[in-house]
């Protein structure tokens, strides 16, 4: 059953031109235009400006219990969409139909009073969501517990650290028992540990039927949490579907927009010399198709396409993988290769499955070319891609790399004798030695 249906939704804002904005007309009109009064015409240009559709023809529906990710560049209309669903602003056209209580986290701590204690703020928030007082009183202990406020629960919020503020805000929202949760960049702040707990809690509530609209720029979080993503650009839905595909499309477009252009735009001539030129650096799957994001559970390939200008050059490629501006690893060709003819030469490296972590990598490429003397071609930021996985919970993939390594389990017979025998399925192997998992 659909928990939220958005039909042909549109929101138009009027953006006054600079001249009109400076004129006093707008302020003196005071919205009386609809009244049958003689129009007061004042100096200043009337109605100058343009209409801006922040959202147009947006249609989608969300089944109960789904976590829908919404991505898009700044100003694409994501927040406007959430604001309409939260009833903060009215749509210009179209319709939203939903079932149950909507709780919005459009801004952490909106609707908090810094002079009130946590308890009073909880009650106030409950009132703002139209929740009965008794129901709210019942939830206070669990809200305070999840927020880890400890001894601060009775202090005014003014004295809270930003982390505590954040924890309280999230805890209040999720414990209001929403049927639909609107979350706009809720995880942009706060420490990693709490972010993880939030994501887990959201996933857990989703299993119970909570529908979530999750707006974020954190592709890793979106990809991990959401089985479906909508990409909004300039107020319209560009893509709606599986996370890897939508994110790939989005990042591709984003990179086309600035990333690659900027890299190529650096016309320092570094990526080209008399011997060779780096024509492209691409991420591919096992079938040789170009992809925008790397599933950590599959092998992926990075291909450097070179234009060789001088046959007979000896080449060796290096790739540096960065995550969050730190060099994670460098890989290079063990054997030098000889470009025996002019034309296109592909140098491809395989990144095995279960090596990358769920983060965004940037690849710098260097190719040493030896003809008479050693030269090199360099392309920084040649490729940016995200790696994503599907393992449950967010604890599994951490760090800049997350390789799959062999683990050994060994149980000792003596130690186990003292215990009662477990259920049949769990009896240790009869040989009592080690077993490799």
């Amino acid at each position: 059953m659909d928990s939220l249906i958005v039909e042909d939704l549109g929101k138009r804002y009027f953006v006054p031109s600079k001249k009109a904005a400076a004129a006093p007309r707008k302020t003196l009109n005071l919205g009386l235009a609809r009244l049958p009064l003689p129009r007061i015409t004042l100096p200043g240009r009337v109605g100058q400006g343009r209409d801006l559709w922040a959202l147009r023809h947006v249609t989608f529906s969300v089944p109960a219990g789904q976590i829908l990710g919404i991505i898009g560049a700044n100003g694409a209309g994501k927040s406007t969409l959430l604001k309409i669903i939260a009833r903060v602003t009215r749509p210009t056209e179209g319709r939203v139909t939903g079932v149950g209580r909507v709780v919005s986290l459009l801004e952490l701590g909106a609707g908090f009073n810094p002079d009130f204690s946590a308890q009073d703020n909880i009650l106030m928030n409950a009132a703002m969501h139209g929740i009965p007082r008794r129901e709210a009183l019942d939830r206070i202990p669990q809200i305070i517990e999840f927020a880890e406020l400890d001894d601060f629960a009775d202090n005014p919020l003014r004295q809270y650290s930003s982390g505590m503020y954040l924890r309280l805000a999230f805890s209040v929202a999720i414990n209001m028992q929403p049927d639909i949760l609107l979350a706009d960049e809720i995880l942009a702040v706060g420490d990693i540990a709490f972010q993880e707990r939030c994501l887990q809690r959201v996933a857990q509530e989703a299993e119970r039927g909570l529908t979530v609209l999750f707006v974020s720029h954190d592709m890793a979080a979106v990809a991990r949490l959401c089985p479906r993503i909508i990409w909004i650009d300039k107020g319209e839905v560009m893509h709606d579907g599986e996370p890897e595909r939508v994110i790939a499309e989005y990042e591709d477009a984003a990179l086309r927009g600035f990333g690659r252009e900027a890299a190529w735009g650096e016309k320092t001539g570094r990526h080209t010399n008399v011997v060779a030129e780096i024509a492209s650096v691409r991420l591919l799957n096992a079938l040789g198709e170009e992809i925008g994001a790397a599933p950590t559970t599959e092998d992926v390939y990075v291909r450097i396409r070179l234009k060789v200008r001088k046959p007979g050059a000896v080449l060796r490629a290096f790739m540096d993988f960065y995550a969050k501006r730190f060099l994670v690893f460098r890989t290079h060709q063990e054997q030098e290769v000889v470009a025996d003819r002019r034309g296109v030469l592909d140098l491809t490296v395989k990144i095995p499955a279960h090596l990358l972590s769920e983060t965004t990598y940037t690849v710098n490429v260097t190719v040493y070319t030896v003809l008479v003397k050693e030269t090199k071609v360099v392309l920084d930021n040649a490729l940016t891609f995200m790696a994503y996985g599907h393992e449950a919970g967010g604890q599994l993939k951490r760090g800049a790399l997350s390789p799959r390594l062999d683990w050994t389990t060994q149980s000792h017979v003596n130690a186990r004798k003292k215990r009662k025998p477990g259920p049949p399925g769990r009896t240790p192997a009869p040989w009592g030695g080690s077993s490799v998992v």
Binding site: I85, R87, T89, R90, T97, N113, D115, G130
Partner: protein, 278 residues
Amino acid sequence: MWTIEADADQGFGPRTREVWRYRRILWFFSLKSLQTLYSKTVLGPAWILIRTLVPLGVGSFVFGSIMQVPSGGVPYFVFFLAGQVPWNCFDGPLIRGSRGIEMNRQLLTKLYVPRIILPLASMTAGVAEPIIIALVLLGSLVYYRVNDGVWYVQPEPRMLAAVASVVVVLALAFSLTLWTSVWQARARDARFVLRYVVGFWLFLTPVIYPLSAVPADIRWLAQLNPLTPPIETFKWALLPGMQQSWPWFLYSVGVTVAAFLGGAWYFTRSESLTMDKL
């Protein structure tokens, strides 16, 4: 199951029910508006007292002792206070209620609450003053009892009319905030204009002088002012030797109802646009 549509008006019934469902935010926003009276001050809540009492002293000295305004048989101070109580039920609540939307801009752009509650809640800060003035009035009566040996106010059934007057004045103030709070959210200019208007309004209303001091031939003009009848009624209910007229009182009630209905219509009508302009 709920629906959000471009131009669907909920209608009066559902809106009222919604306000009822959210009624408890009235309390929290009222507290917040009270805090604005003294937050970040050294003296704290004492400011409420100071701000109320100093103008009382100055006003009664200027009008009573210097200008010798007639007060119909009671000490001018008592007369002055009896006018100040209902007037302050209008002045403060109107000025503060008008800020209701603008003050909560931060919240309103992030969270939905029935906005019509906000001007009402913000009026609360303005109610503190008339309450204090009423207490001062009570104190002054005790003072004159001890000094002059007279109770200038006798407990009588007609004192109930004072309560009715206060209700009418507060209702009129709220009805007007439904207009002014929208204007003020759109343009701060409204705030300055409002201050002027209310400042003049005070002198056009028989607050510091009795209605009987107005020349008889233009008295009807003063009574057209919807504040005149309830304020006169308030004084009549408390003090001896005053006059009031029930038909004019009903006229005020009528104006208030009209202002409320018009205000509710206007507020709802312009709500969506106002929110977009915050």
